[in-house]
């Protein structure tokens, strides 16, 4: 589904990703862990197509397409979803309207008919029930005045509505207390299907207790330096990122 080869990304004249390789297949959950400044968020922004995060070299194939050649809105329509670490507030824009505009834009791109108000309403209702989200979130402006937990749950709700093929969760656990974390993780687990893949970017192992990954990768200094299964996350938890650094030095 997703194949990243030797990806180099420079942000504001600083090399952040320095030859990253990653392959993700449908239905898999990949956790990307690493110390601050390793390039975790850069990976998310690069895949979603943020301006200023352009690849200097390397390639990203998504379902046989050159992902990097697409505009951000086209990537979304192709099925890439980024749950932001800091969801953006858009004052005055109704959350429901925003979602419907997004959904219809994506359907239009894919040559599907637009969804009418009735269908949309029933879809909203269905997803709300599944995720146990209160509907008062919907009449408010996009993320405006939301608490940290509300913002993250709104991201998950958007993901549920937009039904992406690949979801990238950028530090979705940051700033959440344990109850909020559990609720968000529960939402993600409900959206796991054999077709949908996830990249879960996190600094702490804690989230992976609730979203159990198939693979864990350690990102340090712009590269994946170690890959393994979920036990790798536990090892990191015990020994910290210093262990990775030491290992790298030995290798060098």
């Amino acid at each position: 589904m997703l194949e990243i080869k030797d990806l180099h990304v420079t942000v504001a004249n600083r090399a952040i990703l320095k030859g990253l390789n990653l392959q993700v297949n449908p239905g898999e959950v990949h956790a990307i862990m690493g110390p601050n400044g390793a390039g975790k968020s850069t990976l998310g922004y690069t895949l979603a197509g943020r301006e200023g995060y352009e690849a200097a070299s390397g390639s990203v194939q998504f379902n046989g397409q050159d992902l990097l050649a697409l505009e951000p809105q086209a990537r979304a329509a192709e099925g890439v979803f980024l749950a932001f670490q800091y969801p953006v507030e858009i004052p005055g824009v109704n959350n429901t309207y925003f979602l419907r505009a997004a959904l219809n834009a994506q359907r239009k791109y894919r040559g599907e008919p637009e969804i009418d108000a009735r269908e949309f309403l029933s879809l909203v209702r269905q997803k709300l029930n599944v995720l146990h989200i209160k509907d008062d979130l919907l009449q408010r402006a996009v993320n405006e005045g939301f608490s940290g937990g509300e913002k993250k749950r709104n991201e998950i709700f958007q993901m549920a509505m937009l039904e992406p093929k690949l979801a990238i969760l950028d530090e979705t656990d940051s700033g959440l207390d344990i109850d909020a974390l559990k609720r968000v993780a529960e939402g993600v687990n409900l959206l796991r299907t054999p077709e949908r893949a996830f990249i879960v970017i996190t600094h702490y192992q804690r989230l992976l207790d609730y979203i159990v990954p198939d693979f864990v990768h350690v990102l340090a200094d712009g590269k994946i330096v170690q890959s393994g299964d979920k036990d790798l996350a536990l090892k990191l938890e015990d020994e910290g990122y210093a262990w990775i650094k030491q290992r790298k030095m030995v290798e060098a």
């Binding site: 809105q73 979304a76 953006v88 997004a102 834009a105 949309f120």
Partner: protein, 490 residues
Amino acid sequence: MNQALNEAVVESTGMAVVDDALRRSYAHGFSTDIETELFAKGLSEATVRAISAKKNEPEWLCEWRLAAYRHWLTMTPPDWAKLRLEPIDFQAISYYAAPKRNQPKSLDEVDPKLLETFEKLGVPLHERARLAGVAVDVVFDSVSVGTTFKKELAEAGVVFCAISEAVRTHPEIIKQYLGTVVSTADNYFAALNSAVFSDGSFVFIPKGVRCPMELSTYFRINARDTGQFERTLIICEDDAYVSYLEGCTAPMRDENQLHAAVVELVTLARAEIKYSTVQNWYPGDENGKGGIYNFVTKRGECRGERSKISWTQVETGSAITWKYPSCVLIGAHSSGEFYSVALTHHYQQADTGTKMIHIGAHTKSKIISKGISAGRGQNTYRGLVKIEKSAIGARNFTQCDSLLIGKQCGAHTFPYIEVKQPNAVLEHEATTSKISDDQLFYCLSRGISEEDAVSLIVDGFCKQVFKELPMEFAVEARKLLEVSLEGAVG
């Protein structure tokens, strides 16, 4: 499903209607080929007398006009601090233009061509065609063409008619109020208007009456080389209420046309006037050629205690807009509000804002201004909040935000604050920025196109103002904004 979610969905459906609106440029730019009685160009005492005679006015009003004219001669045009404009040749304008066949006794007798024109503008005059609850007066060049729902309104005691008609039918009220809020000497264009005003609406809501429907006037400039000088007077007696809407359009022409209106509002004790404008005069083309000069004096006086005047405006048209709908808060506990969205694109210039003059004790005012500049547009908020010594406990809140779209536009904010009462509390905030990259990327990452994302964000930026508009107008306003912004991005 609970109510709240339903509302949210209804709102999103309304917005989708906007989305579906045709991508088009100025849609009201056609002109109507109709036989018109047109005064020769030029302005003199004789012109003033001729207008007055044409309207069968009493002697006192003719004298009033002449006094204004004589005063106007002594005045100099204002010094346009931030505006670029061609000097106006007041002798090159015809001061009266009226469709020849317009002496209808009722709407059924109105020239079909006129009915067709307004139908095309989306203002059908047949009552059965109107959405329930809105009465309309339409002004075509210098005359009122007709007013709907007159009978129903009369039953409620409401007077809603052309001001030229009111001069004949309600002379005592006109005499009592005309020119008492905006004097004939107030400013250059108010003096000119007082001398040559043609038509406009008159609204009188007697004591204790809540006007049973929204009142609306639609202004249309059609004839070439004319100006429109409408005059509107709205009076709400004790405990009365009215919501009044105003819309306007003009054909696309290469030369600039002058629109110099005066609007006066008076509220007595506990009365309320809600005045909404969607201004869509022809803005000129994308090279700045043509367009209306919109120089308007709008002012309301809250004369009675606990009375209220609320101005809401969406200004997307005109080559140049110069207007400051204001409130003079005289009655104790009276309040004034000003909600404004002003958009300038291409070479449009807008200099707009409000004056809130606090005189009475515990008077309150609120100003929300949203300016959007695109292309080479220049957008200025200019406002005054004055708190006199007598205004014990007065309170003002002002928020002025400007949004920049493009490298060649300008956004300016000039608030004047004058406080003489130590018990008053005043807060003013203003920001200027471009559309945030974060917001834009967030929308894009959800699959929304750049153009739609910009109009979505702009719409959200204007939300505080749109929510003050009656529903129908709000949809119209959003649509206008979207059309006006066309081509501003990318």
